[in-house]
Symmetry: D2
Subunit: 276 residues, 4 copies
Amino acid sequence: RTSSGSAGMAKSKFEYVKEFEVQDTCLRNCWVVVRVDGKNFHRFSEQHNFTKPNDIRALQLMNRCAKNVMKELDNICIAYGSSDEYSFVFHKNSNWHKRRASKFMTHVVSQFASSYVFYWKEFFSSQPILYPPGFDGRVVIYPSEENLKDYLSWRQADCHINNMYNTVFWALVQKGGLTPAKAQERLRGTLSADKNEILFSEFGINYNNEPLIYRKGSVLIWQKVNEVSKKTVKLSNETEEQEVEVSRWRTEPVLLHTDLIGEQFWEEHTAILSYR
Amino acid sequence: RTSSGSAGMAKSKFEYVKEFEVQDTCLRNCWVVVRVDGKNFHRFSEQHNFTKPNDIRALQLMNRCAKNVMKELDNICIAYGSSDEYSFVFHKNSNWHKRRASKFMTHVVSQFASSYVFYWKEFFSSQPILYPPGFDGRVVIYPSEENLKDYLSWRQADCHINNMYNTVFWALVQKGGLTPAKAQERLRGTLSADKNEILFSEFGINYNNEPLIYRKGSVLIWQKVNEVSKKTVKLSNETEEQEVEVSRWRTEPVLLHTDLIGEQFWEEHTAILSYR
Amino acid sequence: RTSSGSAGMAKSKFEYVKEFEVQDTCLRNCWVVVRVDGKNFHRFSEQHNFTKPNDIRALQLMNRCAKNVMKELDNICIAYGSSDEYSFVFHKNSNWHKRRASKFMTHVVSQFASSYVFYWKEFFSSQPILYPPGFDGRVVIYPSEENLKDYLSWRQADCHINNMYNTVFWALVQKGGLTPAKAQERLRGTLSADKNEILFSEFGINYNNEPLIYRKGSVLIWQKVNEVSKKTVKLSNETEEQEVEVSRWRTEPVLLHTDLIGEQFWEEHTAILSYR
Amino acid sequence: RTSSGSAGMAKSKFEYVKEFEVQDTCLRNCWVVVRVDGKNFHRFSEQHNFTKPNDIRALQLMNRCAKNVMKELDNICIAYGSSDEYSFVFHKNSNWHKRRASKFMTHVVSQFASSYVFYWKEFFSSQPILYPPGFDGRVVIYPSEENLKDYLSWRQADCHINNMYNTVFWALVQKGGLTPAKAQERLRGTLSADKNEILFSEFGINYNNEPLIYRKGSVLIWQKVNEVSKKTVKLSNETEEQEVEVSRWRTEPVLLHTDLIGEQFWEEHTAILSYR
């Protein structure tokens, strides 16, 4: 920008307020996790007629937003989402925006929120979006790979617990004709095995056959994909242009619905945590 | 939520990762300012054909988003915006989300970002939005009213400096036929008076007649507005329904384009900083 | 310092660790309070035969240390102490060590601790110090004068409560012959008036006649004191040297035992909080 | 403590100020380093006639203080000092005082400072201490063992660089008769090899024969030591008491002057960083 006379004066008088800003650097050599959560999504999902217990359109929209966040921002090495939340992991060596926590948080959450409205109609063609939703975000720092893996395992374990509960709860309500209050009462104190049993014996549902995206949530990692496109070229030994297929390798966020808990996932995808 | 057997086990093992989250409480009895800035808006404005030096649609969209933020979040007592930035002031007595800085930041920035896409078509009817924009946000804390007023004065002084420069710059380019490089060169080292002179003598523009929204930016404060609506009622002594006008007072964010620098504004609007 | 060849190499390899240090700036325009507390002083006071309920030597030593802290460090405008704790207030305009919290804390606490051992024998001539005591410290930030005064009032109210309790407790034990357990039981649930009554009717003690240093604690503020010293001079109209008294004004930490609660103290000492 | 009537009132009114204290938890699973530095020790060393370039009494006193800090505080697994500074490493699993940075800092620095005055006369029998010295302290957090080792290597590399420089500098001044200014000039731009050469050819000093405590600084680690003491006992089959030697294993801070840079030290002392 530029400064003029009056500007100079104005600056000298007020600009001291900049010094009240404080450094909020994330500790170096640590994994930086930003978790985004939908604000009042219980109400939002009802007003937009989300199917229960899972609305595949809503989950796909979340994944589309997360993919956009990964592409627009730098140094995200893995993301994990389920329900109305998504976690983004910045690599421990990232020096993006000098590792300022506020930058990590606000860039993720704003990109996610604007994407949510932008891509809405791709997934909800017959349901208009009624108002702009809010999200909250937070930063958590993990010093070791083990801590980071345990964080992701924690989110996936949570996904599992919630999804099993919701699956039985909505089966009791939608197919069993119970009121929500009765369904809740029925499930109080039940163990995992009890819920499996209810699903199977009363509704013929084998929980393990439920879609992976519901049971495991969604993982986004970078992978090389072979992109094939058509191009019109004139080869040197010919006189006319012709259309050819050109392929090239691109690194893209790729969606998985798989187990993060345990070592197998990490052994198969060593590139995630290694230096980029 | 609920917990089942396997969930219990999963929890006990991974849930320790929650303890890595740190408290980021904003100091009590201080004004909390969240400033939102458009990310790469130079590029965004070009790709969406914003008029230069000011695009009234873009400014109105920003104001619309800011109004939505004020209504959706709690305890914002004043907001100020210009160009692609907006500052929101949470009252010093606010205890919203226990004054966590991350909550203030991410709620503001996500609500602003989703609103930007949501309300876009109300202002850009003939220009579709091409991609979801990003915003960054930060929190700054001010202990005294004087510091807070100086912060807002700083932003408004900045608005003035930038707008005067841009007004002359684009006059030289659009009306004077200069290349951007030549216009920049012409303006190097010029004072405020010089810029006024160029505008007036070369382009017949009196800078002080430029619209206030460009010169002063936009202020949002809460005001009581009288809302009149029509209602169909059946009065007791009549047999037929009839339509009557009903009025009631509502507190709404109201837009001003006025001077914040100096005491007059604050003397006229003492309610802004007093206890709510 | 200097660097040699091998040093240069060593530096380039290890010096990155400096970047892990984080900024801990105290918010500007706020009062910075450092409170020092004796570590395990219950045990320390027993092993050094402190008289109960108050040991005047110990309190004078605390005051001596606090005075030293005020003189060795910069920008402390008032200090308040009672029992084994002392609070130091750095002026809100202080920019000492760039307002780093760690600097405020560690300089205060280390100067206090070394002074405690250094000045010990001035107050405990017949009781050697048996081991070096520890202290802990903390920083608390107050944005307004009112908050700061309330902080000091809080500490003085605490002093009052504790001293009244201890005065009765030790009267019951030392003069009334009760065991500590019995004395504690006797005092359970008693109000201030009850304690006054016990002191007066059973031991003939009027609590309000107890020394102010016990009831109010100790305040240190800067005051101009007239320092008189003797100097040997030869006046121009005389032939021989003679000794004269020379006086000059110096600003010194001065000890008060007075009420901080209420406005009177602050009205009488406006210089404390005004700009230095 | 207890509360009486007036106390209750006082509390309700002022106690809110406690809420201004902020959490300053050190990130879990990270090594916490507290470094103590003498304040104005250049002046202190001159006023107390420290020998140059190294005063063995001063170094031994520093080591004595550091040993006391290790014994009085919990969870320090290694300490390293040279000149007027000392670094203390709290184990990454430590939960001492809930990992509050202010507690780590102030306990270390106050214990160090009081010990310095307390133990002074054990090392400076003929030189009284003239005033209580100050120290400053800081906390730095390291997430990985590699970072921690590099921190200690950095301090030892610094010790080496400074000691070599000081050794030559003071040889030039004390034995070579140069003024300090001339000595400084002579050394400007010299490499390690140059300094070795000056020492050897001009003063017959082989730097590598200088005492390890000067060249490598001091390391304190916990080791089992066999403590032998005499005890008077009466054995069952005898009629008279007799004096016997009793030995038992105790874990004590043990002083080393050795190389920390490189893996050998850590391979020989694996217990330092392993769980305690």
